[in-house]
Symmetry: C2
Subunit: 421 residues, 2 copies
């Protein structure tokens, strides 16, 4: 569970008091097992990291060489909304998706999707306002909502229904006048679920009726498997003034480090406010903009290659999961995550065990780092037997990781009662 830790300023030699918001920020659930993994490595063991949503695919030489030639000698601020030419390239990319966007007044380039989401939530929420988010949810949403003094109202999704978008009754029953926005991630991190067009249409109608903002994180847009289809929220009519799309090239181009994200909204009043925020931080990072533009204009096949690689990895997972006794895992339809239920009492204890005792008991040299499920819930007590597994290593390594996991589940002493039998 994503608990904040209340931090008290002593005012007595420990410095002045911190803000109330400071005490509400959750530690990263994904990163908290890292020290144990590092400890295992220091003891000569290998750890396969499946805990963080970071593509591991290096850029091909031809892209890298072309980029090196484009690094300019004058590394100046770009426009606060990003370089005009890059926004035009992004508008062409959106046109390729069947979506017309004005690069002058509807696109703002940001330091990753994270900055885009922070700008948007700051523009939409005051302290005490709330945002509804299907749960389990991407943990950093909670931190960013709390940084603007807001509150997350989780709307539960279940593994039994493959974490599908909840029906409108579920939203309606949790709605209060403090709710100003709905935030969805589609395709979904952490569940790998893709929301159906019908469900999205219902959500759009609900947001319109209640006059809510609709924020859609669509950074996994291209990661769709097995013929599944969905729609960008930018394609729905009648809610143009409600919708903001959060986007990023980090995943689809395997460029997490360069921090090139963006937001798209057709609400001009909102855009004007977001641009002022952009001006307050001067400009988004420059070099990532050049690299993204280069790929969009000259190497657009690269996105397909990245997505294909993740498709192969998903296939490996689908085959291997049958060999994992007691594991319940929906077939991932999108993104590059599986949110699985394990036959264990407490998945965080299991994840720690994988990095410690398992290496002795199992007599193995290799283990895996998974993200415990409870870290993706704000509702206490949920997700305790779940984990998020990210397909962020190549197929051979992934196969090895899943074999390790199978062996670990055999040996683990604290299996769930019903699973022990």
């Amino acid at each position: 569970m994503l608990e904040g830790r209340k931090i008290e300023g002593s005012g007595l030699g420990g410095g002045p008091r911190l803000s109330g918001v400071a005490g509400q920020l959750p530690p990263s659930p994904i990163r908290k097992l890292i020290p144990l993994a590092e400890g295992a490595e220091r003891r000569g063991k290998q750890v396969i990291y499946l805990n963080i949503g970071q593509p591991d695919i290096p850029l091909p030489d031809q892209i890298l060489d072309a980029f090196r030639g484009r690094v300019p000698s004058l590394l100046a601020y770009s426009h606060s909304a990003g370089l005009a030419g890059v926004r035009q390239s992004i508008a062409r990319y959106y046109r390729g998706l069947g979506i017309e966007v004005d690069p002058e007044s509807e696109i703002l380039i940001t330091a990753g999707a994270s900055e885009a989401l922070w700008f948007v939530l700051r523009a939409l929420l005051d302290a005490g306002d709330a945002v509804m988010i299907p749960e389990p949810l991407y943990a950093n949403y909670v931190g960013i909502v709390r940084m603007v003094g807001g509150r997350v109202v989780p709307v539960p999704t279940t593994i039994a229904q493959n974490f599908a978008l909840p029906d409108i009754e579920a939203f309606l029953s949790r709605w209060t006048p403090e709710v100003k926005a709905i935030l969805i991630c589609n395709p979904n991190n952490p569940t790998g679920t893709v929301y159906s067009s019908e469900m999205l249409a219902d959500l759009v109608a609900f947001a319109r009726e209640k006059n809510l903002w609709l924020v859609a994180d669509e950074v996994y847009r291209e990661f769709l498997y097995g013929g599944v289809k969905t729609r960008s929220l930018l394609t729905f009519e009648g809610v143009e003034d409600h919708v903001v799309v959060i986007d990023s090239f980090s995943k689809r181009m395997s460029l997490c480090g360069v921090r090139t994200g963006l937001l798209v909204t057709r609400n001009r009043q909102l855009y004007d406010v977001l641009l002022r925020m952009g001006q307050a931080r001067l400009s988004p990072p420059l070099l990532g903009q050049y690299l993204v533009q280069l790929i969009l204009e000259e190497f657009s096949w690269w996105i397909d290659r990245v997505v294909e690689e993740f498709g192969r990895r998903r296939q490996v997972f689908l085959e291997a999961v049958r060999g994992l006794p007691g594991v319940r895992a929906p077939v991932p339809q999108g993104a590059f995550y599986v949110f699985a239920e394990l036959p264990v009492e407490d998945s965080e204890v299991f994840c720690r065990w994988l990095l410690t005792d398992f290496l002795e008991v199992g007599g193995v040299d290799t283990t895996v780092l998974l993200a415990p499920g409870a870290g993706f819930y704000v509702s206490g007590g949920r997700g305790c037997d779940q984990v998020r597994i990210a397909f962020v290593v190549g197929v051979d390594r992934l196969r090895e990781a899943l074999e390790v996991l199978a062996r670990a589940l055999e040996l683990y002493p604290h299996k769930r009662e019903s699973a022990v039998s």
Copy 2:
């Protein structure tokens, strides 16, 4: 004056309501004349841009070539505090300044100084809290303070005293229990003033007595002229738990676009909170970190070259200012700005005239873009006859700009009464 514009959400077809904070964000005072400058250029005129604090100095080929060779093919997230090796290089740079900083627990790399300041203000202020800032002030401070729901309490400095740090009486008389922090910029943007060690010591004592946070923006640290000296707030004893330094390589390495800033604090509790904010946005931009490290480790002379060039420009200004009738301008001691009083009724009107009528009346092909002074004040009515001039073009171009300005002041029809005589 940095007025916010109240933005009302109509709720009637215009989309849902925006946050209250959204309506408090000031437009950028530096950028609002840009459309007029662009208009002049479209009419075939040349505009010399002295309005924005952006070094215009390209990187030498040897640095650029070395950097190109270091761009890795896997552009992954770095640690949320920045790459460990880069933090070590930064700690060595600080050691060269005589300041010991622990790269593991006291340095956090950010997307420019802007992100550093936003993290810090978010960690220190709740809605309704206030921060004292000497005025005139860097306009973006106001936007960032308002984004956390805070309030700026300006502490006036005057051109008659070369914009020196106000004495403690001035701080004391404006202090209220809502004040949680003091924010200074030293060397100062927009005034070019460098604060004396004695005045800083008084400020430090005041902050300690009132148990306030002390935030120092020291991005212009190396830009000191004519033998003037000052101290980093990190060198004062007894306030280690109060001090946060905001820093950036944008200015001293002429790298504004890559967005590599940082913050330094010895307050571990504060650092823990700032790191959580860093985790919520995953990582700072990667490529700028490599470039900064390369320069720190192998081309540290580059900082000296950049500073020397600005010293030459300052000299040009000092010589030219004598030829500007009715202009009162303190001798800049640091940074690369002059905050000057012009013999005009309204400097914003004058700045607009420079970009429009002057080009006809003066029969000239070249004009200058300056930043009107009122944009650097939150106190209404102040700075109306002042401008900020940034030395961000080479010496020949700067000489030309100052000749243009002299001619413009001769021809301008709306000079101040006392100046007309």
